[in-house]
């Protein structure tokens, strides 16, 4: 039973993170590669706050989401004007910078050895001790995020985002400032990724910088591309596939390191096959997108 909860939790977490990345990739047409770093940073902030301060988890969640939003805004603001693949390359650079900082700050993050979290999160004096107790919280937040994303896409702000993505000059002539709209989208996305990171932190209770590397970004990108980009519901099915495949590999009886490597190979192949086989949607979004 515990095993089933574990799988359900991981699916919910990946769905949540997929929602966060989907705003930038689909609604804005930015192919970001630093998803892993944003999630990891929020997870580390949560972990450090949990060990250093004994405050309510809702407060910790808010602080880590806010700091993740602020850091993403500050990092993305200078590179927002880069064209074509240069934006993606710059986000790749940001990913590697953050991961290597997390790796090097031995005093705070315990470096490559990994950070163990000993305290339990408490929400309104209710301790979250088991995965069974974490599951309802995650599911509620996941559902809330789903409706939040649908709401964003339906309000004028969401339509303005897609307008900026497809026809930047028309949007500009209608008085929509691309930098303002895209910065806000980046902050919303970073907030959701941060939420996912915080929940991941209390789920796994052990953080290690290599877990949030480029492999992680590729995994999340495969989730949102696998379901057919733009269809918010299908992110859920993408997450199911991404969680089930490694379990099948583990069942087949490989050692842990081998299974991780094999799993990454499979995800890379899945992504490559989708890109080569049916690149239409992603490609359409990216080629329609014009310079700010």
């Amino acid at each position: 039973m515990n095993y089933l909860f574990d799988i359900l939790l991981r699916i919910a977490l990946y769905t949540l993170i997929g929602f966060g990345a989907n705003i930038l990739v689909f609604n804005c047409g930015f192919l970001i590669l630093n998803i892993g770093a944003t999630v990891g940073l929020a997870a580390y902030i949560t972990a450090i706050l949990m060990t250093k301060l004994s405050i309510d988890f809702t407060l910790i969640l808010m602080i880590s989401m806010a700091s993740s939003m602020l850091i993403s805004f500050l990092l993305f603001r200078p590179i927002l004007n880069l064209q074509g693949d240069r934006f993606s390359i710059a986000s790749l650079g940001i990913q590697m910078v953050i991961i290597s900082i997390l790796n090097n700050l031995d005093g705070l993050t315990n470096g490559a050895k990994g950070l163990k979290i000993k305290t339990f999160a408490s929400v309104w004096s209710w301790n979250i001790n088991t995965k069974f107790e974490l599951l309802p919280i995650t599911l509620v937040l996941c559902l809330a995020t789903y409706y939040f994303i649908l709401w964003i896409q339906s309000i004028p702000y969401g339509r303005a985002l897609q307008g900026i993505r497809d026809e930047v000059f028309t949007a500009k002539s209608l008085g929509k400032n691309p930098v303002y709209f895209n910065s806000l989208a980046i902050m919303i996305s970073a907030g959701l990724l941060g939420l996912g990171g915080s929940l991941y932190c209390i789920y796994s209770r052990y953080l290690d910088p290599t877990a949030f590397g480029l492999d992680y970004s590729i995994k999340v990108l495969s989730i949102i591309i696998l379901g057919g980009l733009g269809n918010v519901k299908n992110i859920f099915s993408g997450a199911i596939i991404i969680v089930i495949i490694p379990e099948l590999i583990r069942v087949a009886g490989f050692s842990k390191a081998d299974a991780t490597a094999l799993e990454n190979v499979l995800f890379g192949i899945i992504l490559l096959v989708i890109l080569i086989g049916r690149p239409i949607k992603l490609n359409e979004i990216l080629t329609q997108k014009q310079q700010l």
């Binding site: 880069l82 993606s88 710059a90 590697m96 990454n264 890379g268 992504l271």
Partner: protein, 290 residues
């Protein structure tokens, strides 16, 4: 300090070869070929494998390793990049495909050889004393190979038709294909040469320290930085800029802790992209587009 300078020159020589190969590939193919890192790592593992299990002739092993990296480069270009280009993919999609290739190849290496660093040679490499610094024979080989391959590369770019064709493709692929240049063939040739140079540089780089699957990333980012510094469409200049960058990173160890150097280099990539975005490629579109 002298020791750091000498180490820097040798390291920079290896980076120079990787950077020149990387520059040639991104100029002709128009892809930010980040999978170069794993191709380099593959060639080092091939070198290691050949020495350990087939024969202990270093020259044969080097030939085998360069062959492996060239073939791998050609496979990537022929199966991934050229197919995606035919589908008129956006540059970012090509980059994503390159990263997916990188993840696949790196994890194949760690699946089959393990995450732990593997040393290329057994035993101590002999050293001798010069002024107040040690120089090992591996370092002398690094500089010699850098000079030989650098000269060959210079002659190849400047004295053969290939150099002109490559720079024509990098400036305007559409015009080049109209004028009857066999653009796919040049791309395959340049990725083969670039991968072989990258493999050679990487084997020299890790000859003393040993290789692990993720080692290639750092040197590929240095290669990218040194290509952006000199600007697009310059094939010889990355040799020099990467040499300088290698010396700089080695000497910087004197002032800041060594672990922060790679962080600085990654940050430098982002900063350079912001202040000099035209450094990667001149062209605006690819010839299959529009």
């Amino acid at each position: 300090m002298n020791q750091l300078l000498i180490n820097g020159i040798c390291q920079g020589a290896a980076y120079g070869l990787i950077a020149a190969g990387f520059g040639l590939i991104i100029a002709t193919s128009g892809v930010f070929h980040i999978a170069h890192a794993s191709v380099c790592a593959f060639s080092a593992y091939a070198f290691c494998f050949f020495l350990n299990s087939i024969s202990n002739n270093v020259f044969l092993a080097a030939f085998f390793a360069l062959l492996v990296s060239s073939v791998l480069g050609i496979i990537i270009e022929a199966t991934v990049y050229s197919t995606l280009r035919k589908k008129r993919s956006h540059d970012s999609v090509l980059l994503l495909a390159s990263i997916a290739t990188l993840v696949i190849l790196t994890n194949i290496l760690s699946f089959s050889f393990g995450e732990k660093p593997k040393s290329l040679f057994f035993g101590e490499i002999p050293k001798f004393y010069f002024r107040d610094a040690f120089i090992s024979y591996a370092q002398i080989t690094q500089i010699l190979v850098f000079i030989i391959i650098g000269l060959l590369f210079y002659l190849f770019i400047k004295r053969t038709r290939f150099g002109i064709l490559a720079s024509a493709i990098s400036q305007n692929p559409a015009l080049a294909s109209i004028l009857g240049i066999r653009i796919e063939r040049i791309r395959l040739l340049s990725i083969a040469i670039g991968s072989a140079m990258g493999g050679a540089g990487f084997i020299l780089l890790v000859s003393e320290t040993g290789v692990d699957p993720n080692r290639g990333m750092n040197s590929t980012v240095i290669a990218a930085v040194s290509c952006i510094i000199v600007g697009a469409n310059r094939f010889i200049a990355p040799l020099g800029s990467a040499l300088l960058l290698g010396i700089l990173t080695s000497v910087l160890v004197f002032f800041i802790p060594a672990i922060w150097i790679s962080t600085l280099i990654y940050a430098l990539l982002v900063i350079l992209l912001v202040i000099k975005p035209e450094g990667i490629l001149i062209k605006k579109g690819r010839f299959e587009e529009k």
